[in-house]
C-alpha cells in the first residue's frame, strides 16, 4: 500500500504530540488543578525527564518476610520485625539495609488483587488491568516509554534486566506497538545482535551504511511505502543503538560501585539500571528471581532477600544522592504475596488477598504507610487497594493524567482502568 508521506501529515510526523494532546484534552475535563501534560509543556518535560524503575520480585515476595511482618502470631514465622528510619514503622529483619532507607519510601500494606495465578497476577500488576479475552493492555514500562521518553531517544524506552542468557524484544506493549515493547537484557548483556562483527572494520561499516542510505534515498524518491519507511526507521534505531552500545556496559562503572552493589548478578543488574536511568531510559525493570517459595519459604527468603536488601538500599541511596530520586518512580512489586498460613513444607503459597507493594521517588510521599492488615495478616482491614489503584498512582506520580486516554488507531482507550483511582495519600 502506498503512503502519501509527502503530505507531511501530522498523524505521521507528530504521533507523539497527538498522544500528548489527547492527554491534555482529557486532563482538562478530568481535573482542573492537575498538572496537565500539554504540548506547550513538552520542552519542560524533556528537561526534567521522568523514569519508572520497577523491581519485579518474580514468583511472589512474602509480605510477612518483608514489608508487613507479623512476629509472634500463628502466621508470623520465625523472623522478627525491626525498626526503620521512619518512627513507628517496622519491617522484617531480613531487610536491615532497606530499613535505613524507608524514610525515602512508602509502603502499601493493603493490596488485594484477588488473584493467585502467576500469569494473571503478573498481568494485573504490570498493566493495571485484569486479563481480558478481547483486549490487551500495555505494560507499565511500555506506557513509560510512550509518555515519558524523548521522541528521538537513541535508546529503547523500555528495558528489562533479567537472569538467563536470552534476551530480545517482548510483546508487552499491546496497542502501543512494538516500538514500546520491552527489550530484555539477558544476564545484563547488551541487546542481542548489536555488536559489529569482528570481521567488519569500522571504515567498511561506515561505507556500507553510506551506500545503504543512498540506495534508500534513491528508492524513496519514487517508491516510498509504509513498509520501506518502517524498514528505514528500524534500521536507524538499530544503528543508533549499536553506536550507544557502551550504555549497556556496566563494567564502565567504577569498581567501587560494583563492590557496593554486590558482585552477584542482581548487584550488576541494579548498577546497570542506574546507568540506564542516567542515560535517559524511561522504563526500566529489574527482575529478581525467585520468590515462589511453596517449600522452605524462610530459608529461601533469607537467601533471596539477603541479596536484594543491600543492593536495593544502595540503589535507593544512590538515586537520592545523584538527584534522580525526584524524577524516578521506584516500585517494588510481585504478581502477588504469599499465604499467611505456613504449609506443611515450611512454605507459603500464592496469596493475592492481603499483601504489600513499596513505592518511592518521583511524586511519592516519603516515609508513608498506607493501609493495614489484621493481626495475623489474613485480610485487609483498612484502605484496601488493587492493581488498578496502583497503576493510576504510578502514572500520577510521574505527572501523567491517569484519566486520559490513548488513541489506538482511532479507538480511545483509557490509559488506566476507569473503575479505579490513584491512591491520594501516596502522592505529593
Amino acid at each position: 500500500m502506498k503512503c502519501h508521506y509527502a503530505c507531511q501529515s501530522p498523524e505521521h510526523l507528530l504521533e507523539r504530540r497527538k498522544f500528548l494532546g489527547t492527554l491534555a484534552g482529557s486532563a482538562a475535563v478530568a481535573a482542573a488543578n492537575f498538572p496537565r501534560v500539554l504540548e506547550a509543556a513538552m520542552p519542560e518535560l524533556a528537561a526534567t525527564q521522568k523514569h519508572i524503575l520497577v523491581f519485579w520480585l518474580a514468583g511472589g515476595l512474602s509480605q510477612l518476610e518483608s514489608w508487613d511482618p507479623k512476629p509472634k502470631t500463628d502466621t508470623g514465622g520465625p523472623f522478627r520485625a525491626i525498626p526503620t528510619s521512619v518512627p513507628g514503622l517496622h519491617i522484617s529483619e531480613l531487610l536491615p539495609y532497606t530499613a535505613k532507607q524507608m524514610h525515602h519510601l512508602s509502603v502499601v500494606r493493603s493490596v488485594n488483587t484477588k488473584e493467585d495465578d502467576h500469569g494473571k497476577g503478573h498481568y494485573c500488576m504490570t498493566t493495571g488491568r485484569r486479563q481480558d479475552p478481547v483486549a490487551d493492555y500495555p505494560h507499565l514500562g511500555a506506557v513509560a516509554a510512550k509518555v515519558l521518553a524523548p521522541e528521538n531517544s537513541p535508546l529503547p524506552g523500555h528495558i528489562h534486566i533479567a537472569s538467563g542468557g536470552g534476551g530480545g524484544a517482548s510483546n508487552n506493549a499491546a496497542f502501543l506497538g512494538p516500538k514500546y515493547a520491552s527489550i530484555t537484557l539477558g544476564n545484563g548483556n547488551p541487546p542481542q545482535n548489536t555488536a559489529r562483527p569482528d570481521n567488519l572494520s569500522e571504515a567498511s561499516d561506515q561505507q556500507r551504511n553510506l551506500f545503504r542510505m543512498r540506495a534508500n534515498e534513491h528508492f524513496a524518491l519514487r517508491r516510498r511505502t509504509a513498509d520501506s519507511d518502517a524498514f528505514v526507521s528500524s534500521f536507524d534505531a538499530a544503528r543508533q543503538l549499536m553506536e550507544r552500545r557502551d550504555v549497556f556496559d556496566v563494567s564502565k562503572e567504577p569498581a567501587a560501585d560494583l563492590e557496593r552493589y554486590g558482585t552477584h548478578e542482581f548487584g550488576r543488574h541494579c548498577l546497570l539500571a542506574r546507568r540506564l536511568l542516567e542515560h535517559g531510559v524511561s522504563g526500566v525493570q529489574v527482575n529478581h528471581s525467585n520468590y515462589d517459595t511453596h517449600n522452605e519459604n524462610f530459608d529461601f527468603h533469607i537467601e533471596q532477600l539477603g541479596e536484594f536488601d543491600r543492593t536495593f538500599a544502595t540503589l535507593v541511596d544512590d538515586l537520592v544522592q545523584r538527584g534522580l530520586w525526584k524524577t524516578t518512580l521506584v516500585v517494588v512489586m510481585s504478581e502477588f504475596g504469599r499465604t499467611p498460613h505456613i504449609n506443611r513444607f515450611f512454605g507459603r503459597d500464592h496469596w493475592g488477598k492481603a499483601w504489600s507493594v513499596v513505592l518511592g521517588g518521583c511524586g511519592i510521599h516519603e516515609g508513608g504507610l498506607v493501609g493495614k492488615t489484621n493481626d495475623n495478616g489474613t485480610e485487609v482491614v483498612d484502605a484496601q487497594v488493587d492493581h488498578g489503584h496502583l497503576f493510576h498512582t504510578y502514572l500520577r506520580a510521574v505527572g501523567v493524567d491517569s484519566t486520559s486516554k490513548f488513541d489506538a488507531g482511532g479507538r480511545s482507550i483509557p490509559i488506566a482502568d476507569p473503575a479505579a483511582a490513584p491512591i491520594a495519600e501516596l502522592l505529593t
Binding site: 523472623f79 522478627r80 529478581h288 528471581s289 525467585n290 515462589d292 517449600n295 529461601f300 537467601e303 506443611r344
Partner: protein
C-alpha cells in the same frame, strides 16, 4: 548427644515391631524433638517460639519460654541437668531442666542470624554452636565463655557434632561441605564431601540442601549426614532423602543410603542404633517416614510410615523408643518392640 551408645544385653529393638505408645499435643505445629539423657522427658520446639517438655510417664507438660523466634537446636549436658537451646533469634539459652518449671539460666547472643545446631562435648565441658553467619563456635558449656570461632565455611552451617573422643568436631553446611575441626585450636583438620546433599536450582536462582542430620556411629568409624538430594524443583521441595556416610578414618564417602521407592522429602535427622543400623526420618511430599538402613546397604530394610509429615526425630537413650515431631502439633513416642499381648 548424637553419638551412639555401645551395644547392650537388654531388650532388643525390632524396627518392624514399631508401634505408637504415646502422643502429646501442643497448640501450634512442632519443629524439633529430643529425649533428655535420663529418658524421662521429651522436649519439642514449636512455632510459638516455645520449647515444651513432656514427662513421658505422666504426660505432664511444662513450657520453656524465653526465645524470640523458632528453636531448631536442642542438646543436653551429659548429666541431664542442663538443656542448651539454639534459636533463630541467634541466641543460645541454658535451661535448668530438673525443676518443675524450667527457667532460662543463661542467654548468650551466639550468632548473627539463625542458630541451626548445638552440640555438647562428651565430657560436658564444651558447647559447639553453628549458624547462618557461617561460623562454628566453641563455648564453655558451664559459663558460656567463648573459646573460639571455627572459620572456614562459606555458607550457612546447618549442623555440628563432637567426635566421641571429644578432640575433634565436625560441621556440615548448606552445600554439603563437612569440615573437621581441632577442638583445642579451632583449626580445620580435614574436609569431607557430602555435596550430594546440595543443589543450586538455576531455575529459581537459589540453593537448596544442607546437612540436616548428623551422627557418629558407636564404633566411631562412620559419620552419617542426612538431607535432600536430586532436587528437581527447589521451591516445590521435590527431591529425595539421602544419607551420605563418610569413613572417618579415610575421610572418603563410604555409602549413600537412599529410599527404594524414591520418597519425596528431606531427611531431617539421622541416628546410628547400637545394633548396627542407621535410622533417618524424612518428611515431605510423601508424608513422614522413619527409615532403617543396614550399614552396607543402599536401600532401607524397613520403612515405617508416620501419620503426619515429620520434622525431626530422636532415639531414646534406651534405644527402644523413638520420638517424632510433626506439623500436626503432635510429638509421638514409638516403641520398637512387640506390642504387649
Amino acid at each position: 548427644m548424637n553419638t551412639t551408645p555401645a551395644a547392650s544385653d537388654g531388650p532388643k529393638a525390632v524396627p518392624q515391631d514399631t508401634h505408637l505408645v504415646a502422643e502429646f499435643k501442643h497448640a501450634s505445629p512442632l519443629l524439633s524433638c529430643r529425649f533428655d539423657p535420663s529418658g524421662q522427658f521429651v522436649f519439642a520446639t514449636a512455632y510459638d517460639n516455645t520449647i515444651q517438655r513432656w514427662h513421658l510417664a505422666s504426660g505432664k507438660v511444662a513450657p520453656l519460654v524465653a526465645h524470640d523466634s523458632w528453636v531448631r537446636a536442642l542438646a543436653f549436658h551429659p548429666s541431664g541437668s542442663t538443656l542448651y537451646s539454639g534459636g533463630y533469634d541467634g541466641r543460645v539459652i541454658w535451661w535448668e531442666i530438673t525443676s518443675e518449671a524450667p527457667a532460662a539460666a543463661r542467654t548468650i547472643e551466639a550468632h548473627q542470624g539463625w542458630v541451626r545446631a548445638v552440640a555438647v562435648s562428651p565430657d560436658g565441658n564444651l558447647l559447639a554452636t553453628c549458624g547462618n553467619d557461617n561460623l562454628v563456635k566453641i563455648w564453655s558449656a558451664t559459663d558460656g565463655t567463648l573459646f573460639g570461632d571455627c572459620i572456614g565455611h562459606a555458607n550457612h552451617v546447618y549442623n555440628v557434632a563432637f567426635h566421641p573422643d571429644g578432640r575433634t568436631l565436625v560441621s556440615g553446611d548448606l552445600k554439603g561441605v563437612v569440615r573437621e575441626w581441632d577442638v583445642a585450636t579451632c583449626e580445620q583438620l580435614r574436609q569431607f564431601d557430602a555435596a550430594a546433599l546440595w543443589k543450586y536450582d538455576a531455575g529459581f536462582g537459589a540453593d537448596i540442601g544442607g546437612v540436616r542430620g548428623i551422627s557418629f556411629s558407636a564404633d566411631r568409624k562412620l559419620l552419617a549426614c542426612g538431607g535432600i538430594t536430586e532436587v528437581s524443583n527447589a521451591f516445590a521441595g521435590i527431591g529425595f532423602p539421602l544419607v551420605v556416610v563418610i569413613d572417618v578414618e579415610t575421610g572418603q564417602a563410604r555409602q549413600q543410603h537412599v529410599t527404594e521407592k524414591k520418597l519425596k522429602g528431606p531427611i531431617w535427622n539421622v541416628r546410628y542404633h547400637r545394633d548396627g543400623y542407621v535410622i533417618g526420618a524424612s518428611g515431605g511430599h510423601d508424608g513422614g517416614h522413619v527409615l532403617f538402613w543396614k550399614i552396607e546397604q543402599a536401600n532401607e530394610f524397613f520403612d515405617f510410615k508416620l501419620p503426619d509429615i515429620c520434622r525431626d526425630f530422636d532415639l531414646h537413650p534406651d534405644q527402644l523408643r523413638l520420638a517424632t515431631s510433626h506439623e500436626d502439633k503432635s510429638v509421638r513416642i514409638w516403641q520398637m518392640t512387640a506390642k504387649a499381648k
